[in-house]
């Protein structure tokens, strides 16, 4: 590829510059791939180096430390207590007790309960004994006896691993504290008392206090479920293998991904074709939903903001109604308005404009256009609000000086307004594109995915022409033949698509500002 100097580049025509930009983007792909590869290698290298450093530090602390430190390796918090930091020491010791109790003792004390060690040991098999018939002496007949519970094994197995990691981290902190305490005492300073510790929680350690509650929620209700669901993609967990009542489920390796993505073979082909079809529509939908709203919303904002337009507030308030009224009311109602026996068709028939009802939701192409159009109705108000705020910030003298130079309204728009808007709202466009890809409400409430795509219906869930990946995922997880593992595969693929788009676009955006600069 030819490299231009700055001067040569400026001499090029608009088209040549555009082509040059595209060419250089593709030319840079191998290099960025190489960089990404190197980054991953470095990442793992750094992790291993860090682990090595930690281990060597643990060893040297043990060798050089006094007896209090040495005992702390077995009884956590001993060193803290012995040096007068009772509060910290007790907390460490308590954590160790809880850990040991959970791992080993809980299973013995509670009848029918299991400790962490049990869950961990069952994790590789996800359960050995399924529900089976057993002879019952009392009833003198065969009854179903339930065995292991794969679902719980997977869930608590993951939880136990989280807990072990937390324990190792705490144990490491315990050792580090001993080392630091020794150093402080050696230098002749006093250690922090329990009271000071508590005070620091609302002062220099205040961030830990503030983050404790939100992070616990995120870890328990987001991170843990996501890890669990990623693992489900490698099992055969579905409606007929629910792990307890009818049959256990077990590890499948990459089998499900192969089913989803392979183009060869006869029986499985349906999945890859369906996935490709839905992904294409999802991308088309996200593109139109984002950009129609963006440009029309900007246009409406400019109309309302124009000098000489009166009752600006009234126009805005009317538009904002669609934000205020819960979507399930407005979308469900609008969806019924356009139904075959709905009010729109009814009126058109009454006025003799049409002779038979228009199949708004029955015709695939029409249904797809309809969801995009109705989404404009929902989406314009947001963009109008955002654009209004930004447009007001554009310095007015830019427009005045451009008018003196003879620029018309269109030129002003393409040379001033649009670049300014795009520059500022770049990141917003990206997030709104990805959230449109996952826009469950609009699609599900308007069409429920209909009309049904007969050709793809042998794949899990009854797939329709307006189904996005996210509504497909929902359909797979409900009903009799729920295939949780397939839903999980779809979810992972959605994640990959979103992540790749975000990474690529993020790199191209000009307006990623340094956070500190902004403040």
């Amino acid at each position: 590829m030819k490299k231009y100097s700055d001067l040569e580049y400026l001499k090029l025509s608009k088209w040549q510059r555009f082509l040059h930009k595209i060419a250089s983007f593709f030319a840079s792909i191998p290099r960025s791939l190489k960089n990404a590869g190197l980054a991953i290698v470095n990442f793992f290298k750094n992790i291993f180096l860090a682990i090595g450093r930690e281990i060597s530090d643990i060893c040297t602390t043990f060798v050089k430390g006094d007896w209090k430190t040495k005992i702390s390796y077995v009884i956590m918090g001993f060193g803290n207590c012995a040096r007068g930091q009772i509060l910290r020491g007790l907390l460490f010791f308590l954590f160790e007790l809880v850990f040991i109790f959970y791992m080993f003792i809980a299973g013995i004390i509670f009848p029918g309960g299991h400790g962490g060690a049990y869950w961990l040991s069952m994790l590789p098999s996800l359960g050995l004994i399924g529900p089976h018939e057993e002879y019952n002496m009392v009833l003198d007949s065969y009854t179903t006896v339930y065995g292991d519970n794969s679902f719980k094994i997977l869930l608590y197995g993951v939880l136990t691993i989280f807990f072990i990691i937390a324990f190792i981290y705490t144990w490491r902190q315990n050792i580090k504290q001993n080392k630091i305490a020794e150093q402080i005492l050696r230098s002749g300073k006093p250690l922090k008392s329990g009271k000071q510790d508590l005070h620091s929680l609302v002062d220099d350690q205040f961030h830990k206090t503030l983050l404790a509650l939100p992070m616990t929620g995120i870890i328990v209700f987001t991170v843990l479920p996501i890890v669990f669901m990623i693992l489900v993609a490698f099992t055969n967990y579905d409606g007929t293998h629910d792990g307890y009542n009818n049959s256990l489920f077990t590890w499948q390796g990459l089998e499900n991904f192969r089913t989803m993505l392979s183009w060869s073979g006869s029986g499985n082909q349906v999945y890859s074709a369906t996935f490709g079809e839905i992904l294409t529509w999802t991308l088309i939908w996200a593109f139109f939903a984002t950009f129609t709203n963006y440009f029309l919303g900007m246009f409406v904002a400019m109309m309302i903001n124009k000098k000489g337009i009166r009752i600006k507030k009234v126009w805005r308030t009317i538009l904002v109604l669609t934000i205020a009224i819960p979507q399930f009311i407005s979308l469900l109602y609008v969806s019924k308005m356009f139904a075959k026996n709905g009010i729109i068709n009814g009126m058109l028939l009454d006025w003799k404009w049409i002779t038979s009802p228009i199949p708004f939701w029955e015709d695939p192409t029409l249904a797809r256009i309809m969801v995009i159009v109705i989404n404009i109705w929902i989406g314009i108000p947001y963009l109008m609000l955002i654009a209004t705020g930004i447009l007001m910030n554009i310095p007015q003298d830019l427009y005045e000086s451009s008018r003196i130079d003879g620029a018309g309204p269109w030129k002003q728009y393409t040379k001033i307004t649009l670049p300014y808007m795009l520059f500022i709202t770049g990141p917003y466009l990206l997030t709104s594109f990805t959230s449109n890809m996952n826009n469950f409400n609009v699609i599900y409430l308007l069409t429920g995915g209909a009309p049904t795509n007969v050709a793809a219906s042998s794949a899990a869930g009854s797939v329709g022409f307006t189904d996005l990946l996210i509504t497909w995922l929902f359909k797979i997880t409900t009903g009799e033949g729920a295939q949780y593992y397939m839903a999980s595969v779809v979810g992972i693929l959605v994640f990959i698509v979103v992540a790749v788009i975000s990474l690529v676009v993020y790199g191209l955006l000009p307006s990623i500002k340094n956070e500190e600069d902004f403040q």
């Binding site: 205040f206 509650l213 124009k306 000489g308 019924k336 308005m337 009010i343 009126m347 409400n441 996210i470």
Partner: protein
């Protein structure tokens, strides 16, 4: 010379009058399009001669029958459920979001960068995926079906820390020198938050409360999962969705309209009163990304 000048002047004025007229026409058309569904829904809620969908707008017989009929269904239970959820979520979610965003805006600790990147990546997973397991866990805790309300509150607020972006953007705009001045005067971090920052952050606090309050009224998917098959645990969205399904729509269509009006009125009034703060939040969020 002077005539030419006036002519262009007149021309400009005339042109701007024309373009303004065009804009007015467009705005009126848009307003009509935006209002039509809502006017229809109100009109149909008063129609008492039939309960199914019809092809005309103005009712032939007017009356409050549909509103009265709501009283005999589970609608009031759904409404109460949703209201309790919305109230609880508004309070708790606001606290959590403010904790999170204030911390990430003001404190510089070692894990801050990795934490924010981690949450960005987490946000790319479709949330729907976690519903299956959350449902099973809630079921084990006994928080589904008839007890869906506490279960839903728990799930809504638990992960709300991830939605810190908008309010963090707002906190970023409050000058740090204010914090530092207060710190120099001997205030602890807690005092800085409660005495200095929170009074300044009123718009974003109201924005957070407003969005948190409004979200449960529209939530459909997870609420349907959790309350599955038990009318007593449903929220308005789930309950009223079933009225528009094939088997119910001919008896319940006008009641859906009436219920929709009752749900929409308080939420809309609240929104309109606090619109100013909403606009501030939305604009700020988009600009700062």
């Amino acid at each position: 010379m002077s005539t030419k000048g006036t002519r262009t002047h007149m021309g400009l004025k005339a042109r701007s009058r024309i373009s303004n007229t065009v804009i007015y026409v467009l705005l009126v058309i848009m307003s009509v399009v935006w209002l039509i569904p809502f006017i229809f829904i109100v009109l149909q809620s008063f129609r008492i001669e039939s309960t199914w969908q019809v092809g005309y707008i103005l009712p032939q017989k007017w009356g409050f029958d549909n509103y009265l009929a709501l009283w005999n269904t589970d609608f009031k239970q759904w409404y109460l459920n949703t209201f309790i959820i919305a109230l609880a979520v508004a309070v708790l979610q606001t606290i959590i979001v403010l904790c999170m965003s204030y911390t990430l805006s003001r404190f510089r600790f070692k894990m801050r960068g990795p934490l924010m990147r981690f949450m960005l990546i987490l946000g790319m997973f479709p949330g729907m995926l976690t519903m299956i397991i959350l449902y099973r866990v809630l079921k084990d805790l006994g928080l589904t079906q008839a007890n869906a309300v506490p279960g839903l509150i728990l799930v809504y607020i638990a992960s709300s820390g991830m939605g810190y972006y908008v309010s963090k953007g707002f906190f970023d705009t409050i000058p740090k020198s204010l914090d530092e001045a207060a710190r120099v005067d001997g205030a602890t971090r807690l005092q800085v938050l409660t005495k200095v920052i929170l009074p300044l952050a009123k718009p974003i606090v109201i924005y957070t409360i407003l969005t948190a309050f409004m979200a449960p009224w529209g939530d459909f998917v997870f609420a349907r999962y959790v309350s599955f098959g038990t009318s007593a645990g449903m929220n308005v969205a789930v309950g009223m969705y079933s009225w528009l399904q094939q088997d119910m729509i001919s008896q319940r269509y006008t009641m859906f309209c009436a219920g929709g009006v009752i749900v929409a009125i308080p939420v809309t009034i609240l929104f309109m009163c606090l619109q100013k703060y909403y606009v501030e939040g939305v604009t700020g969020g988009a600009v700062k990304g």
